[in-house]
């Protein structure tokens, strides 16, 4: 457990040290999200209708932007093998890294999505649920993205490969996630979608680190 916390601590320190990278993610998110009103026209009614979908897609893209770097540095300079020797099983290492990714990418994105939601004309009462669903969603994203990175670790074309591996897995999350807020804005029952999103998270939580650990073991073999 101590080593696990050490890992997370190390991740946070790394992201603070390379602050521009973490900030770049947020900036990227805000930039692409603000491109949509420019392209679609500033009609408030239209924006409110498509805002949940746009914000979900932007969060997804922004969260996957830094995921390639999750293990690549460690893999290339060889320190990954040292990290695996610290006493944590491979899936523990993978899980710690994934938690670190969520803390340094998912959470800042959550905070950044509040002003964007207001800019997209969200009603106030919809924001708490939107943030809650986005929290589960970014958790799934970190898990699935981290898993895909581990599997593709050491591959040649991993920059192009990662989206191809991750996006098919992310489809259920983006469908249910965007539907929650959509249902709430239309005063419909959002519980089924929320439960399905939660089910995706509950399924990904134990399985993804396990698969990611197998990928890590394969990479250092």
């Amino acid at each position: 457990m101590r080593i696990f916390l050490f890992f997370i601590h190390r991740e946070i320190q790394l992201s603070l040290k390379y602050g521009t990278d973490s900030l770049g993610t947020i900036l990227f998110f805000i930039l692409i999200a603000s491109l949509f009103p420019l392209a679609l026209g500033p009609e408030p009614q239209l924006l409110r209708q498509i805002a949940p979908g746009i914000l979900w897609v932007c969060v997804l893209l922004a969260a996957l932007l830094p995921i390639e770097r999750l293990f690549n540095h460690e893999y290339e300079d060889g320190s990954l093998e040292q990290l695996l020797l610290l006493g944590l099983p491979p899936y523990g290492v993978a899980f710690a890294k994934i938690v670190g990714h969520w803390l340094t990418t998912g959470m800042p994105l959550l905070i950044a999505s509040v002003p964007l939601a207001l800019m997209f004309n969200f009603p106030y009462h919809a924001i708490p649920l939107f943030l809650f669903s986005l929290m589960i969603g970014t958790g799934c994203l970190s898990l699935l993205g981290g898993m895909a990175t581990c599997i593709a670790l050491g591959a040649r074309r991993s920059a192009f490969l990662l989206p191809l591996l991750t996006f098919p897995l992310l489809t259920p999350i983006i469908i249910f996630g965007a539907m929650i807020t959509d249902a709430q804005l239309h005063a419909l029952n959002y519980m089924p979608h929320l439960q399905l999103l939660g089910a995706c998270f509950a399924l990904a939580l134990p399985l993804c680190p396990f698969v990611a650990g197998a990928g890590l073991k394969l990479a250092v073999e």
Binding site: I151, A152, A155, R157, S158, L161, L165, P168, L169, T171
Partner: protein
């Protein structure tokens, strides 16, 4: 690289693991190859001619119902192919059979083409029936995801400098992708969108006229046997290729 030229272990009782030996498989496969190929062609010729020329047109859909004779077998084979891929992946991860790796590598491209054909024929049928080439319906989307899973598997397989690593990483990915198969199967029941629910059922009488079911069964048998024949042929070529490379490296 494993030694593919070792003699098979002598076992008197029937053992499925025996076929995992590439040489035994090669002998067995070259024996059944011509039979499978010929029967696939016979089934296909009968099924396609029967379906396209002699089966009745639908009272509602007219002649475009005949696309079904290609579309339905392709749809079943797309999922079935992925299931076979995942089974090969499981075998390669648990027992580390080199044959399972090769088989997964050969099933992937064929399955991707079949899935693409399933999507294309479906959209050809959708244009006159639904009035659109594509809708973001649950069944269509989940099959599209299956297509991307196939593509991801193929890309990952060839993305490593060390081929052995590529096989293993692709096997892990193939197992992760299995989640899509139940979604494809049940998508028409869970979400009531445009794609019609399943017509076939084991417990109920078929909801389709027998004059249409028979050509469909022939077509399906033809395509399924053709799939097996293609995989068999590719797999034999891959084994021989590997043996040749092995001999060349040893010289």
């Amino acid at each position: 690289m494993t030694n593919t030229s070792s003699s098979p272990p002598s076992q008197s009782s029937f053992n499925i693991h025996r076929f995992a030996n590439p040489r035994t498989f090669l002998r067995f496969a070259s024996k059944i190859q011509s039979w499978v190929t010929i029967s696939a062609i016979i089934f296909l010729v009968i099924g396609v001619i029967w379906g396209l020329c002699f089966s009745p047109a639908d009272w509602q859909q007219g002649d475009s119902v005949r696309i079904m004779y290609i579309h339905v077998p392709m749809a079943i084979l797309a999922s079935g192919g992925y299931f076979a891929l995942a089974a090969c992946a499981l075998c390669s991860l648990i027992w580390k059979h080199p044959l399972a790796d090769l088989a997964a590598g050969e099933i992937g491209p064929i399955g991707a083409v079949i899935t693409a054909l399933c999507l294309i024929t479906g959209s050809l049928w959708g244009k006159p029936m639904w009035g659109t080439w594509w809708v973001w319906d649950a069944r269509l989307t989940s099959v599209l995801v299956l297509f991307f899973l196939y593509l991801g598997h193929i890309t990952l397989l060839h993305a490593f400098d060390n081929q052995q690593k590529g096989y293993k990483a692709a096997a892990i990915l193939a197992l992760v992708g299995v989640f899509d198969l139940p979604i494809i199967k049940f998508s028409v029941n869970w979400w009531h969108t445009l794609h019609q629910p399943s017509t076939f059922s084991i417990i109920h009488a078929p909801a389709m006229s027998l004059s249409m079911i028979w050509p469909l069964i022939f077509c399906f048998m033809g395509f399924a046997l053709g799939f097996i024949a293609l995989v068999c042929m590719q797999l034999r070529a891959a084994i021989l290729e590997r043996q040749v490379r092995h001999f060349l490296l040893n010289e």
